[in-house]
């Protein structure tokens, strides 16, 4: 939050704890992940944990933050050159999403979706955090769609923010289904339909 970040003198304990928390909470969720387990996974003791994070909830917040940071970094990479055709960038981005769940190491689980589902109804603080992340992501998509509209003739009017929310919802729901069915392919299929739908919004989609 402060301009002067502590990243330069960061011993690995905090990072290892964050990685462990992300991994465990992605698999089991918040409540089923214990502080002790995070410590074991990170290879540090509880003293280190509560030195770096004031509570379990605090590391969950930090984990969501870090998770979203990494996702955005990947999306930015997938989108490619900002001067390219926005529609092409959206296509590349969706293709990146499809590919990402196909990578064997990368289970089709989103920490943000997991914690939103589990905590939004009972923990107002985490709900707010997740809401902000969700809105940030959707806003990015909406900007891309707006940019596309400025270049391509829209076949019919549409609310880009609404489309953004639809894509976000479809993405989260797809991950849920893919995890439950143990079949990531549903994500690919769903996103293909999403691409087709976006195509119908533009004249030469």
């Amino acid at each position: 939050m402060v301009a002067k970040t502590e990243t330069f003198s960061n011993p690995p304990a905090r990072d290892k704890l964050l990685d462990a928390a992300i991994g465990l909470m992605r698999d089991r969720g918040y409540n089923a992940t214990t502080v002790d387990h995070i410590c074991v996974e990170a290879g540090v003791t509880k003293g280190a944990f509560f030195h770096h994070f004031k509570s379990k909830e605090a590391i969950a917040e930090a984990a969501v933050d870090e998770w979203c940071r990494r996702r955005v970094a990947r999306y930015t990479e997938d989108l490619g050159d900002p001067s390219d055709d926005p529609l092409a960038r959206i296509d590349r981005w969706l293709d990146g999403l499809i590919e990402s769940v196909r990578e064997p190491v990368e289970r089709p689980v989103c920490l943000l979706g997991m914690l939103s589902q589990e905590m939004a109804g009972s923990n107002s603080r985490m709900r707010t955090v997740c809401q902000a992340k969700l809105e940030g992501w959707t806003g990015l998509v909406a900007q891309l769609l707006d940019a596309a509209r400025r270049i391509h003739a829209p076949r019919r009017d549409f609310d880009s923010l609404q489309i953004g929310w639809m894509l976000n919802s479809l993405w989260q729901g797809s991950l849920l289904v893919a995890k439950t069915r143990r079949d990531p392919e549903v994500v690919a299929n769903n996103l293909r339909h999403a691409k087709a739908y976006i195509g119908t919004l533009f004249a030469n989609g």
Copy 2:
């Protein structure tokens, strides 16, 4: 012991426990819902709980079952006359979904989605249960789409099961987003886009 206020009119403790479990787990999820809390909410003791359900996991399974039973009952009602035009039935069904989240009393939360998200990754038994429910629901939608294809000329070929999964995914994701944003309207918007997309599948959509 206090005078029997309602014990005599056979108020099945099991039903009250199930209702309580559904309500609490829909709000807080599985792990954050304690057996004690379910008992208090149901107004029965722990003895009654473990008489009717052999474990906490068992009541979660039963709760999912009962929840899906109720949902299917509602969907069947919304679908209306089976001899009607399948496309009209699908439309009525989607409208029913939109309306359902607008009812103030009915928070936009699906127990099936909640437990799928929370447990599918760590509890293989519950994962299987949820998978079966998800597949049952999707199969129903696919049947409707197949029926529609038999009557209406499809503008282009499509896999009805795949469309079913997309609708299911979009529904679950929409609920997740609606809950996190505290705005059920996103569900309505998303389902409207889904209706539009289904329209593009048929000639006179």
